[in-house]
């Protein structure tokens, strides 16, 4: 049997870890692995703080992956919003691999968080904050293209952050492709993989997104069709997931108005969906306020039920008052 020295053991312990010598960062631990690269916790020696460091797994011969990672960092740098994780720095390792650092978010993923929230309005308000961040990105001309529970983090102070903009697209920009390669990250393939869902990226921009959350035009690989309405589709599926309390594949018995919002957002035809995120968020806010939503025509009973629910306290008070008046009149006129 080969004898391994202590030095070799040390190297093999971190056999997947990038060499950060020559940078201002010290590697701490692996926190996530995706199709393109891995994310580590690293210590910024100059500022004495911990950051998340995303680095490519391998050097790519034609530079496509490098271009994609650099582009992702640049897109993030343009999106200064409380709901989007801020990027700090971009650089290259001694072996040529590109990396970027961003804020280290301590907290838990949306799918784990929503399972702990019992109230539907609480979960929907969380969803609205995701909509805020996505709407901001859309206003800057950026489509996320991979919105799913695993890419949304809830920070320690309840902040909602949309992560992983690796598949993001800027309108009007030429698509960066990754040759003919197919990258699949799946927890079943590697048990130590912290990721829980699959992201499929294929060459020539054919299919980008996550099955179950990507829009039909993404699934078809129709990159010309992909715009902000593709994100609206993903938000629609996310809405169903959140409304179900974080149980994937479960068809929740949603209130009809809420179901109509979800159906509108996930329409097969992009033109049949909400035109922008603000409209979707607006309808959801109306629903939360007990007001009629634009995509659902209520019958009389539903309208009355909603009216009763919204003004429940006042209706009960008035009813009690009227009953008292009737009783008083009845006893005095006997």
């Amino acid at each position: 049997m080969t004898f391994l020295s202590d030095k070799a053991l040390g190297r093999l312990h971190g056999s997947e870890a990038p060499d950060l010598s020559g940078t201002r960062f010290t590697l701490c631990e692996l926190i996530a692995r995706g199709g393109m690269g891995a994310v580590y916790v690293a210590e910024d020696e100059k500022l004495s703080r911990r950051v998340a460091l995303k680095v490519l797994d391998t050097l790519d011969a034609n530079g496509d992956l490098t271009a994609r990672l650099t582009r992702e960092a640049r897109i993030l740098a343009q999106l200064e919003h409380p709901g989007i994780v801020p990027v700090h720095d971009v650089g290259a390792l001694p072996d040529g691999r590109v990396y970027y650092t961003m804020k280290l978010v301590r907290g838990c993923r949306l799918d784990k968080h929503v399972a702990q929230l019992d109230s539907l309005p609480q979960r929907l308000r969380l969803f609205l904050r995701v909509c805020d961040a996505v709407a901001f990105a859309h206003a800057r001309g950026v489509v996320h293209r991979d919105l799913k529970p695993a890419n949304i983090m809830i920070g320690s102070f309840g902040e909602v952050l949309v992560m992983d903009w690796g598949l993001a697209k800027i309108w009007g920009e030429r698509e960066v492709t990754v040759g003919e390669k197919i990258f699949i990250s799946s927890p079943k393939a590697e048990p130590e993989n912290p990721s829980t869902e699959s992201t499929v990226i294929t060459g020539r921009g054919t299919v980008m997104g996550t099955p179950g959350y990507m829009s039909p035009e993404q699934a078809r690989g129709d990159t010309q069709e992909i715009d902000l309405r593709s994100d609206i589709f993903s938000l629609g599926t996310l809405l169903t997931f959140i409304a179900a309390g974080g149980v994937q594949g479960k068809s929740p018995a949603l209130p009809r108005a809420l179901l109509a919002i979800s159906v509108k957002a996930t329409a097969e035809n992009p033109s049949a969906r909400y035109a922008n995120v603000s409209q979707l968020a607006g309808d959801l806010s109306l629903y939360l306020d007990g007001l009629p939503v634009s995509v659902y025509s209520e019958n009389f009973f539903e309208r009355f039920g909603r009216f009763f629910k919204r003004h429940q306290a006042a209706i009960l008070l008035i009813t009690a008052y009227l009953i008292m008046r009737v009783l008083v009149l009845f006893f005095f006129h006997r």
């Binding site: 080969t2 004898f3 053991l9 997947e16 691999r97 590697e190």
Partner: protein, 246 residues
């Protein structure tokens, strides 16, 4: 006893579950694997902790594994209470102390299973490591020593398997790069490797990444078989490949 790398059972059962199996062949293979990974750590541990001569340590090592089988010690292991290697280390302590107290050490190797262990290799490794017993006198240091030797044993067998895989797939160059960069005592850069192997920097990086991934896969596969539950596996995988936090 064959080298652990050759006898590793590709079974869905963990080694521990297989060791408790009613199927004799399955049980023998499992024990073979278990001994393959643990005999060197046990030998070195006894040598250092109890300051025994090489000959006495050989007898004690053989005796310990024989006792493990005779008394069915593996069936008493409870993964909820401790890790397997901690349990085995405590069993070694108890066994050696009893043997020393009774002063009735005897060879037991041939009774149930013939365990042919290459003790000279373990002794050579101890000489190479040039360990000063005084430096690991404390209990904690001895625990760390045992753990480190267990990892060394597991990684060594994974490296051997990787070498075989590379030869079978005609990827010897990837293994040579892995050996030169990750296993060697010398510090070489990717650029130096690229020159000496007449490859581009990208090729060096990609081949090394492939070899490391394969090594990791093999080591984790072996580790999985040695663990009794998914929780234990996740914990041990983190110990093996997790990067130390400050």
């Amino acid at each position: 006893m064959t080298a652990a790398g050759e006898s590793f059972p590709l079974t869905r059962l963990s080694v521990l579950a297989a060791a408790r199996s009613q199927d004799g062949a399955e049980r023998a293979r499992a024990l073979d694997t278990l001994f393959g990974v643990y005999w060197k750590p046990v030998y070195k541990y006894i040598r250092l902790k109890f300051s025994q001569s090489p000959q006495d340590t050989q007898d004690l090592t053989q005796g310990f594994f024989a006792e493990l089988l005779e008394r069915g010690l593996l069936s008493r292991f409870d993964p909820a209470k401790s890790r397997l290697r901690t349990y085995l280390r405590l069993c070694v302590d108890s066994f050696v102390l009893n043997e020393m107290k009774a002063a009735s050490r005897r060879k037991r190797g041939g009774k149930i299973m013939q365990i042919a262990l290459d003790f000279s290799a373990a002794e050579d490794e101890l000489c190479t490591q040039a360990i000063n017993p005084a430096s690991i006198a404390s209990l904690e240091s001895l625990e760390n020593f045992f753990e480190k030797e267990w990892i060394r044993s597991l990684f060594s067998s994974a490296v051997d398997e990787l070498r075989g895989d590379c030869e079978a797939q005609a990827k010897q160059k990837a293994f040579q790069l892995f050996e030169a960069y990750d296993l060697s005592e010398e510090n070489v850069s990717y650029a130096e490797l690229a020159v000496s192997f007449s490859l581009s920097l990208t090729e060096v990086n990609n081949r090394l990444a492939w070899a490391r991934r394969q090594f990791r896969r093999i080591a984790l596969h072996r580790l999985r078989a040695l663990c009794d539950s998914e929780e234990e596996f996740a914990r041990e995988a983190r110990t093996l490949f997790g990067i130390s936090t400050k």
